[in-house]
Amino acid sequence: MKVLVPVKRVIDYNVKVRVKPDQSGVDLANVKMSMNPFDEIAVEEAVRMKEAGTAEEIVAVSIGPQQAQETLRTALAMGADRGILVKTDETVEPLAVAKILKNVVEAEGPDLVILGKQAIDDDSNQTGQMLASLLGWPQGTFASGVKTEGEKLHVTREVDGGLQTVALEGPAIVTTDLRLNEPRYASLPNIMKAKKKPIDTREPDEFDIDIAPRLSVVKVTEPPQREAGELVEDVPTLVSKLKTEGAI
């Protein structure tokens, strides 16, 4: 089985973002960037499938600026076999990402695409489902477990009330949730090896699709800030404060 893993370069999850004073967006200058954490989980899952002998080849794809190549290198160091960078400096919205990925899927013919459930910058949670729909494929979103059962892929999903398992007839789309696995750190030898793995660079223009944004940003603002309240001495004081507030 061939597995495609789309990986996005995003602001590192430890960074506290700052909104620009002119409200045009958030400040990304000199900010640490990393692979979207859910995509690390996607890469890890694919690598485990390869180690278990169920996957033969893993192709990582990223759509973004030249620096997204570093994100692909991380995927290669974790165990992906090769990378595809679709290079653009423009904002590419999830719908356009899904359209580009559809083209890549048609060219590469994977049996499975594993994406993150959500990119932690735009928090959209839609690309995987859109890709599935555009391809007419079934999906197992928010996966905390993936296994092959005969001809089918069984995906256990984290849903609001608990867990749900669905059986998918491949080719299929899976999106990862946090508990699917714990991604490995790339070892130094693997980082070195990854430098020799191929990355193919493409341009969005090569695909005959419209990727112009559909949304235009009016403003980006700070959320209302909460003031730190008071520290209370002990439990009785806490209880009396809450009573005064009418909270209990």
């Binding site: 973002v17 910058d121 609001d160 398992t165 998918l168 949730d177 008071e230 404060k241």
Partner: protein
């Protein structure tokens, strides 16, 4: 103008998330219809018809819709969209699963997890774990919207809309429901509860999580939440997770117990009315958002608090 709202339900009861989604749809404007898709969900359709301000309820009943899998819902909803300017659903795991497929078929960008809207083109949504709020206008001809339900009041009751039966098109399914493990609980639903008590990694084990959290929650009539660290460690089930990538809650009272207050956790609870934090480290970031902070060992403070209530 007309809006279709996708009902959130389990074939037996209509979720309050639907009422909140209806309020958001009402701000968009136009006639509002509700789609109830399921199996044996007649009572849900009736409940939906009782929401104030609804034009009609579309009721599709079919075994293929029992679990509202995304593929079947897409096949049902996309053809209906000829008659609507927008489709709204709650940003629940179900809404998040289904709606982007509809957006893709309509060739529009989904407006995810909106916290506000102005007219029919302008939407407000949190990004970067709620550390920024983005206002966008959409140039798409139809809008596909998922709604952060904590940001909208529930629509009232008192309506008496008509119920129209839809023929469900049973498309050849490439996805199939196998099993589920849904936690049955008498506790209020986490996302709708007036009070929430959440436990973190500091609880240390599933036994202690139960031993310390349940009596307190029982006393308060509260729902129980958890940090991701507590869920990861297996102290609490996954559906307890509050945060950027878990559930968003905004109760009247939120008590964070042994939770440090990482931005991903704050993203899920910082709109709560009153926040109480119990943590033994006075430097813990949770205290920066707490109205009342108690620097104490939870293993002493929680039983004492439970006792005092």
């Amino acid at each position: 103008m007309a809006v279709l709202v996708i009902a959130e339900h389990d074939n037996a009861a209509l979720s309050d998330a639907t009422h909140k989604t209806v309020s958001a749809a009402a701000k968009f404007g136009g006639d509002i219809d509700i789609l109830v898709a399921g199996e044996g969900a007649g009572s849900v359709a009736e409940a939906a018809a009782g929401i104030d301000g609804i034009r009609k309820v579309l009721h599709a009943d079919d075994p293929a819709l029992k679990k509202q899998l995304a593929e079947a819902m897409e096949a049902l909803i996309v053809p209906l969209m000829d008659g609507y300017d927008a489709v709204f659903a709650a940003a629940s795991t179900s809404g998040k699963n289904i709606m982007p497929r509809i957006a893709a078929q309509l060739d529009v960008m989904q407006l995810s997890d909106i916290t506000g809207l102005e007219g029919t083109d302008t939407f407000e949504r949190p990004i970067y774990a709620g550390n920024a709020i983005m206002t966008v206008t959409s140039s798409d001809p139809k809008k596909v919207v998922t709604v952060r339900t904590t940001s909208f009041d529930a629509a009232g009751e008192g309506g008496s809309a008509s119920i129209e039966t839809l023929e469900a098109s049973a498309a050849a399914a490439k996805s199939e429901f196998v099993s589920e493990n849904i936690v049955e609980s008498d506790r209020p639903d986490l996302t709708a509860a007036k009070r929430v008590v959440s436990g973190g990694r500091a609880l240390g084990s599933d036994e202690d999580f139960e031993k310390y959290m349940i009596p307190l929650a029982d006393k308060l009539g509260a729902a129980i939440g958890a940090s991701r660290a507590a869920v990861d460690a297996g102290y609490a089930p996954n559906d307890y997770q509050v945060g950027q990538t878990g559930k968003i809650v905004a109760p009247e009272l939120y008590i964070a117990i042994g939770i440090s207050g990482a931005i991903q956790h704050l993203a899920g609870m910082k709109d709560s009315k009153i926040i109480v934090a119990i943590n033994k480290d006075e430097e813990a970031p949770i205290f920066q958002v707490a109205d009342y902070g108690l620097v104490a060992d939870l293993f002493n403070a929680v039983p004492e608090l439970t006792e005092a209530l």
